[in-house]
């Protein structure tokens, strides 16, 4: 059971650090605003991207089969996996066939979701994450806290400490240039001595049977082109019908993610290089179930840009780890309950429902509406704490009767003035925990209106 509120409270103990985290992510959000603002047709692009995804989901079986056919013709080996376990077993099977001992891996949220690294390590295969942020968290024995910026929760001094202990950089060194250069040298050796490469997939084109991978560092390409075995792992929702649709999604992806116009590398793989193997694993792991939920299937349109995290006032001030799920933030809070409602029932409540996530989403997922709907589901299935349920029931009574509402209002306006502090700010009143009760007005708006407007006959 993940208790987001409790985790967020722990994160908030260090106020300076919370502010730093908040500001760093807001900086990324502002870069996104600047980049998207330069495209006059931005809203039309979002609409189009959303429409293409709606269409694709409605014919997903057709496009998956088309992709499989075309990719196979191209010499790609296509595999299917119903769940995380089937996926991991397939990866291991391919690796064992080639006697692989060490793999270089570029970023893939899917393999995080499937917990591939610990699975392979248990089988004696060394996994080297090659995205700098992922390598940092891997060496720190930590987990990513953001899908685009995995090490955003760490300060450069902490990265310096990890690198000093694990790859021998100078003690106390924290200059990002120095640390990045050290990682470059360290990872270059890994690329040159590994046995296979594993990557994620950003888009898979049904029409042409190829996959597209986007990175800024070039780590996916370094891995793929130096190795003779490449396994690309993807969720089945990554399919797009045609190559021309890349124009739409690529114009949105990097601008939404980091405010870049395009990622440095956008690699299109259609055939394995000569003498090599390219495997693509199509993974379900709960996606078809989500497809069958009309209220929540929109979440499958996600292109993993992370914009909803950067903008979310809760994410920014609670950190990615507080969600306890592979994908944190608003999108994680609508995806995770679909996998395990009991475990993740607190996540849909990690939101103010302000709607900013939906506003920045490049494929127009109605994230905040889905958050609200998951709350209803969590409530109906008994996943809401008793204290919250009782408070809600009482509020429902108050707001459900105008007469009762006025009575309670009048009573509270008077009583709040004399109520001892320990009644308001005690442990059982969670509302009073971090809030100050506002000064009570003498009269309600209704009283004022009756007196000054209706009462005057105006």
């Amino acid at each position: 059971m993940v208790n987001h509120a409790k985790n967020a409270e722990a994160f908030n103990q260090d106020e300076a650090r919370t502010n730093w985290h908040d500001e760093t992510l807001w900086f990324v959000r502002e870069k996104r605003d600047k980049a998207s603002g330069q495209i006059p047709e931005w809203e039309a692009l979002r609409e189009l991207a959303s429409g293409i995804k709606d269409h694709t989901l409605s014919k997903l079986d057709v496009y998956l089969e088309e992709f499989e056919k075309k990719a196979t013709e191209n010499g790609i080996k296509v595999h299917w996996a119903v769940d995380a376990q089937a996926h991991n077993e397939k990866v291991f099977e391919i690796l064992s066939d080639h006697g692989v001992k060490r793999i270089v891996k570029s970023k893939s949220m899917l393999t995080e979701e499937c917990h591939l690294n610990p699975y392979l390590e248990e089988k004696g295969i060394e996994v080297v994450d090659t995205d700098l942020g992922e390598r940092i968290v891997q060496l720190a024995e930590d987990t990513p806290s953001h899908i685009v910026l995995p090490a955003i929760h760490l300060k450069k001094e902490e990265v310096g400490e990890v690198f000093h202990n694990r790859i021998g950089t100078d003690k106390g060194a924290s200059d990002p240039y120095y640390l990045t250069e050290a990682a470059r040298q360290h990872l270059r050796q890994q690329f040159l001595t590994a046995d296979a490469a594993i990557t994620g997939v950003n888009f898979a084109i049904a029409e042409t049977g190829g996959i597209v991978i986007c990175t800024n560092e070039g780590n996916a390409d370094m891995g793929v082109h130096t190795q003779n075995v490449h396994i690309a792992c993807m969720g089945i929702e990554k399919i797009i019908p045609r190559a021309e649709h890349l124009g739409v999604f690529l114009r949105l992806l990097a601008r939404s993610a980091t405010g870049q116009h395009l990622t440095v590398y956008t690699s299109h793989l259609h055939k394995p290089k000569e003498g090599s193997e390219l495997h693509v694993i199509l993974v379900d792991n709960g996606r078809t179930e989500q497809l069958g939920r009309p209220d929540f299937r929109n979440s499958l349109k996600c292109i993993r840009c992370g914009a909803c995290m950067n903008t979310c006032p809760i994410y920014r001030r609670s950190g990615g780890h507080s969600y306890g799920s592979t994908i944190p933030g608003p999108i994680g809070a609508i995806l995770s309950p679909g996998y395990d409602l009991e475990k993740y029932s607190s996540l849909p409540f990690a939101s103010t429902l302000c709607g900013s996530c939906s506003d920045v989403c490049p494929v127009k997922i109605d994230i905040h509406t889905q958050l609200y709907k998951w709350r209803q589901v969590a409530g109906a299935e008994g996943h809401i704490a008793g204290s919250k349920k009782r408070a809600m029931r009482f509020m429902g009574m108050v707001f459900g009767s105008p007469h009762f509402y006025r009575k309670v209002g009048r009573l509270m306006r008077r009583a709040a003035r004399f109520m001892p502090n320990k009644w308001i700010y005690n442990r059982r009143n969670v509302w009073g925990k971090s809030r100050e009760i506002p000064p009570m007005p003498k009269e309600s708006f209704r009283d004022w209106y009756m007196k000054n407007r209706l009462g005057n006959g105006k």
């Binding site: 940092i136 780590n219 190559a243 179930e289």
Partner: protein, 195 residues
Amino acid sequence: MESRSTILAAVRANKPGEVALPSIRTIERNEISNCTDTFKNLVQAIGGKVEEIQYNEVQETVERLFPDAKYTASGTKRYKGTIQLEHITDPKALENLDVFVCRGLLGVAENGAVWLPESAIVHRVAPFITQHMVVVLNESTILEDMHAAYDEIDVAEYGFGFFMAGPSKTADIEQSLVHGAHGPRSLTVLLLKTL
């Protein structure tokens, strides 16, 4: 095969009623009045360099820009490197490559990217493993945006092809931008002016 039929059956059972595919032609695109200038500005903004030269000046320009380069290779006739790529079989043998020069098939004004298909780079790993990258691009091939680019190229024509927008970079340590993450530390576009 069991997974395959299970997944496809689940998709068929759970997918919504068919939604029509919207046409990407409906989009009213922002007109870019001077593609070359926009492209040049963007390449520089994302950390690249642009030099405008004549078609017969590629060799001397690269030698001027990288006087200390020991190992160089090329995918274009306009530059002769010290390593002959055709003779390389193991891609890892290129680990000490200092400069790689190749031709870009087209440039994209809206983001400063160049399209580099497998035919232009000879070895897939060359443009990534090299320390510095030089792309020779005809000014006339610069297009407005990604829609125009995908209209022009056939992505499936080559086993591999990629857009490159600036030198390799990362900001994974406290959002500090550093060039030269795993790929080249610099990108220079040699723009051949249209006469």
